[in-house]
């Protein structure tokens, strides 16, 4: 028994190394949202586009939807942008936009250039709604269930891989919920 005592430092080291090694596999820059499984926060944003639809809390109730935080100055937003048109048409999934810390003219020109896949776009130049949602960068994408609760948050650009592996399976599951 006493002989095995020399193993204690070794076990301690292996445990610590395993724990820290696990830490290395996680992206420390990605924060878990505190809003998961909670109702979307109270917000009411005016439309970005003249004649378009704005975005408010009540708009998120009734169907499963995505909320995408974007800005014309955000390069990864440009990279992920084509996927939203595809999601909106192929999946019949409403994608709502929050235009975050942007200028109206630039955001409008950006959508004119790249196309507008959003069913509604709220204009949030001074981060009023962004703070309520806990947004800390763009792009961010939220999956909202039909009761208007936030069920998932993704930080960073969404590409096919994340969409097919994570977002769409969750959307299908949420659509079956009553």
């Amino acid at each position: 028994m006493k002989r095995a005592l020399f193993l204690i430092p070794l076990l301690f080291f292996l445990g610590l190394a395993g724990y820290l090694g696990f830490g290395l596999t996680r992206d420390a820059r990605v924060l878990p949202s505190t809003l998961i499984d909670k109702p979307a926060p109270d917000f009411d944003l005016p439309p970005l586009l003249p004649g378009g639809a704005g975005l408010k809390t009540a708009d998120l109730v009734g169907q499963v939807s995505l909320v995408n935080v974007f800005a014309s100055w955000c390069v990864p937003c440009r990279a992920e942008h084509p996927i939203w048109a595809k999601v909106a048409s192929e999946e019949k999934l409403p994608v709502y936009g929050i235009n975050w810390k942007d200028k109206q003219a630039q955001a409008t020109a950006w959508l004119k250039e790249l196309g507008n896949p959003y069913a509604r776009i709220g204009f949030d130049p001074d981060n009023k709604a962004g703070i309520e949602w806990g947004v800390y960068g763009a792009p961010e994408t939220y999956v909202v269930d039909r009761k208007g609760r936030i069920r998932f948050k993704y930080v960073g650009p969404v590409f096919e891989e994340t969409l097919d592996a994570t977002i769409l399976p969750l959307v299908r599951k949420l659509r079956e919920e009553k």
């Binding site: 820059r29 924060l31 981060n127 703070i131 800390y136 960068g137």
Partner: protein, 159 residues
């Protein structure tokens, strides 16, 4: 001597500039007491873009938004802890640079203490073992005494 004084004054001036943080004049509150509270509070709130700077130090746009939010809430008469809770509700406890004592942060707070105690216990066990050897294990056995006697008592003249 004068040059040294000048250099010292220059150094102090630099430090004062550094202490001003990223707060822009147009953000500041008119009431110096409230502004001091805002500075004090925002020194403890993490900028979520740069992550190792407080919002008081950071030039990021989000940090500015949060500085303005802190000041707006101070003006509306909210207490420091109410403002902190408001931010934690939206961004999580990560937004506080000083992590709160909770179940999920137990390892963080108590880990060093545990390591210290474990190391201390190990040290005590080790030292006790050593003094026990010194107390009773050091006496020579009969064989050893005889052998030393033989080696020393040989008397070949070289010792």
């Amino acid at each position: 001597m004068r040059r040294a004084v000048l250099a010292f004054v220059g150094l102090v001036a630099l430090l004062v500039v550094a202490a001003a943080g990223a707060v822009q004049p147009d953000e500041m509150l008119k009431d110096p007491a409230l502004e001091a509270r805002a500075r004090n509070l925002s020194a403890d709130i993490r900028c979520l873009v740069c992550q190792n700077q407080s919002i008081d130090d950071s030039d990021a746009g989000l940090a500015r938004d949060l500085r303005l939010l802190v000041r707006e809430q101070i003006q509306r008469g909210r207490s420091d802890s109410e403002i902190r809770d408001y931010l934690v509700d939206r961004y999580g406890t990560f937004v506080l640079l000083d992590p709160p004592f909770r179940a999920s942060t137990l390892v963080l707070w108590l880990g060093p203490l545990f390591v210290l105690l474990a190391g201390g216990a190990g040290l005590i066990v080790y030292l006790r073992g050593r003094s026990r050897i010194a107390a009773d294990g050091n006496a020579l056995s009969e064989d050893e005494a005889a052998r030393i006697e033989r080696l020393l008592g040989d008397g070949d003249g070289r010792t």
